[in-house]
Amino acid sequence: MSTTPHIAYLDNGDSTQVLPEVIEEMLPHFTEWYGNPASLHQLGLRAEETLDEAREKVAGLIGAKPAEVFFTSGATESNNIALEGLRRLHPKKKHVLISPIEHASVRNVVLRMEKEGFVELEELSVDGEGLLILDSLREKLRDDTLFVSVIHGNNEIGTIQDLRPIAEICHEKGALLHADCAQTFGKIPLNVKDLGVDLASFNAHKLHGPKGVGALYVRKRLKLRRLFEGPPQEQGLRPGTENVPAIVGLAKAAEIAVRDMDEVMPQVNELTKQLADRLQEIPHVQINGPEIGSKNRLPGNLNITFKYIEGEAILMSLNYGGVYVSSGSACSSRSLVPSHVLTSIGLLHEEAHGSIRYTLSRLNTQEDVDHAVVETAKAVERLRAMTAFIPEEHSKRESEHATTFYKQRKEKLD
C-alpha cells in the first residue's frame, strides 16, 4: 500500500484555499439568485440586495461607510483605479511618491505614468527592515505632490507600515495617501479612518476567499476619473456587471477572517516562529524583514536567504518534495533581475537570489512545519554540495557593500 506524500502548502501570500463556509455562501448566487443587479425584476432586486449587504459587511469590517466601498476584480484593479483615477483628474499635480517596496500593481502603474510624461516619480527610503523613513517623506513631499502610495503589509518581507503618521505628514502637505492593504486585510486589525488613508485596496484570495474579486475604499467626497466606460455600476467608477457570487465570497471570507483573527493569528505566528527558529539551525541563513511575531511583521510571513545557492533551485527541490513556497517575489521569479524589495532593504543581489518566502495561514499544521523543515534542510544541503559559489568572495563583497550602502543611505538623509 502506498501512502500519499505529505503536501505542505506554504504559499498563502500568493493565494489561499477557499474555506468551505465561503463556497457554501457563494453557491446559491450561481444557481438560484443569478439575476443581474441592474435588472428590475425580482431576481435583479435580490441580486442588488445581496450586493448592498456585502458592501455593508465589507465597509463595517474596514471602518468605512458603504458608499465608500467599490467592488473590483482584485487588488491589482483597485490599485490601478485609485492611482490612475487620481492622475487623470488632476493633470496639474505633477508629482507622485511611492515606497521602494511596492507590489508591481502599484509600481508598474506609476512607472508607466512617469514614462508617458504625466508625472515626476520619486521613491521614498526604507530602513533595513523595510519600514518607511518618515524623514524621507517629509523631505520629498512637494506642493504639487498628488499622492503617496504605500504598501500596508509587504508581500515579500512582511513589513507592516505604521500608516497613521504617514497619513498625517501627507495631509499636512495636501497630498493624498493610498495604501495597498491586500496582505493585511483579515490578518491585523484594520480601520481606514484610524489609519487616516484616503484610498485603500483589498482583495479576497489572500484571506481564504475567491480569486478575481476585491474592493477599493475611497474616502467620501474624494473623486476619481473612471478608467473604462460602460453602464454606471459601482457609482459609475467601475462599469461592468458585478461578480455577485465572488463579492459574496469576499464579504464572507473577510467576515470569518476578522471574526477569528484574535484566535487564529497568534497560532499562525506561533507556527511561523517555530519554522523560522528551526530553519535558522541551518548554517549561513539570514531572515529578511522585521522580527517574526513582532507588530511590524505580517503574521505568517517568513522570508529567509539561504546563502550560496539560488532560490528557484531551492523552490524546485522543495516542490518535488511536496513543499510549496515562493522565491524572491512570486511575480518576478521568471526574470533574473533580483527583487527590488530585497535590494531596497540592502541585500546584495546574490542574497536576494537565494531568498525563499514561506507564508502560513490558518490551515497550516504542525505537520506542515515539520515537513518543510526536513525538506528544506535536505534541499539546501544537496544544492550547497554542488554550488560554484565560493563563500569567501561573498564575505568580501558583503562587507564592502554594507559600507557603501549605509554610507549612501546616510548621505541621502543628511
Binding site: 533551485a313 511575480c331 526574470s335 537570489h353 554542488m386 559559489f389 561573498h394
Partner: protein, 217 residues
C-alpha cells in the same frame, strides 16, 4: 507564472552527473557570477595527445535549469574531441534536454561557453593558440551579443536583429538595442545581460547599452 520544465530537465536537476572537481584537471573555467544569479565552473582533463576530454566535473550556482544544463553539457563533452566541443552550439544542449523555457535558454549559452573557455584556457597554456589580443572590434562585440538571449523569445539579440548599432572607442563599447515589441518587463534583463557579456570580453573597459523603443504610432 509557473515555469514548465521537461521531464528530462527535472531528472537532470534532481540527479545530476559529474558534480565536483578533479584533482588533476588541466583545463578549468568559470562563467557567470553570483550577482547574476548563475554561475558554472568546469574542471576537465584533456589528453594532450588525442585531444579528447577524458574526464569532466562541474559546479553550479543557479536555478534548476542551470544545474540541469551544466550537468547535461558535461555528459555531452565527456569522451569527445575538443574540436567537436568548439563547434557545439547551445542549441545542442537544449535539444538534449528536450527543450527549455525561453527565459532559461541563456543557461545553455552559459554551459557551452563554460566548456569552450576551459578548452581555450588549456590551448593557450599549451601554446596551441596565442592568448587573445585585447583589441576590441565591432565584430567581436557582435559575436558576444550572439550569446545574449531575449528571455521573452529564447532567441539571441543578433538573431532577432535587435542590435542596431555598435561602436567601439578606446576599448569602451557603446551598443544600441532595438526592443521592438519585447515586453517592458524584460528590458532591465536585456541591458544587464548585454552589458555583462560585453564587459567580460578581455580588454573592454566599459560598456554602455541603450535600449530604443520603436514608436507605436
Amino acid at each position: 507564472m509557473a515555469i514548465k520544465y521537461t521531464q528530462k530537465v527535472i531528472d537532470e536537476f534532481t540527479n545530476p552527473e559529474n558534480v565536483g572537481e578533479l584533482d588533476n584537471a588541466n583545463a578549468v573555467s568559470t562563467e557567470g557570477s553570483p550577482a547574476c544569479g548563475d554561475m558554472i565552473t568546469y574542471n576537465m582533463i584533456i589528453d594532450p595527445k588525442t585531444l579528447i576530454i577524458e574526464d569532466i566535473r562541474f559546479r553550479s550556482y543557479g536555478c534548476a535549469s542551470n544545474i540541469a544544463t551544466a550537468s547535461m553539457a558535461s555528459k555531452m563533452a565527456k569522451g569527445k574531441h575538443i574540436d567537436e566541443i568548439k563547434k557545439m552550439r547551445p542549441k545542442a544542449v537544449t535539444e538534449e534536454l528536450e527543450g527549455l523555457p525561453a527565459v532559461k535558454i541563456h543557461c545553455s549559452v552559459l554551459a557551452i561557453n563554460g566548456l569552450k573557455s576551459a578548452i581555450r584556457q588549456w590551448e593557450e597554456e599549451s601554446g596551441l593558440v596565442d592568448p587573445q589580443e585585447p583589441i576590441i572590434t565591432e565584430k567581436i562585440v557582435m559575436e558576444a551579443l550572439r550569446d545574449v538571449i531575449n528571455p521573452e523569445t529564447g532567441l539571441s539579440l543578433t538573431k532577432m536583429n535587435m542590435v542596431r548599432h555598435v561602436e567601439v572607442q578606446d576599448n569602451k563599447v557603446f551598443v544600441e538595442v532595438l526592443v521592438g515589441e519585447t515586453d517592458e518587463m524584460y528590458y532591465e534583463n536585456i541591458v544587464e545581460e548585454a552589458r555583462e557579456h560585453i564587459e567580460s570580453l578581455p580588454g573592454v573597459i566599459d560598456a554602455t547599452v541603450k535600449l530604443t523603443e520603436i514608436p507605436v504610432a
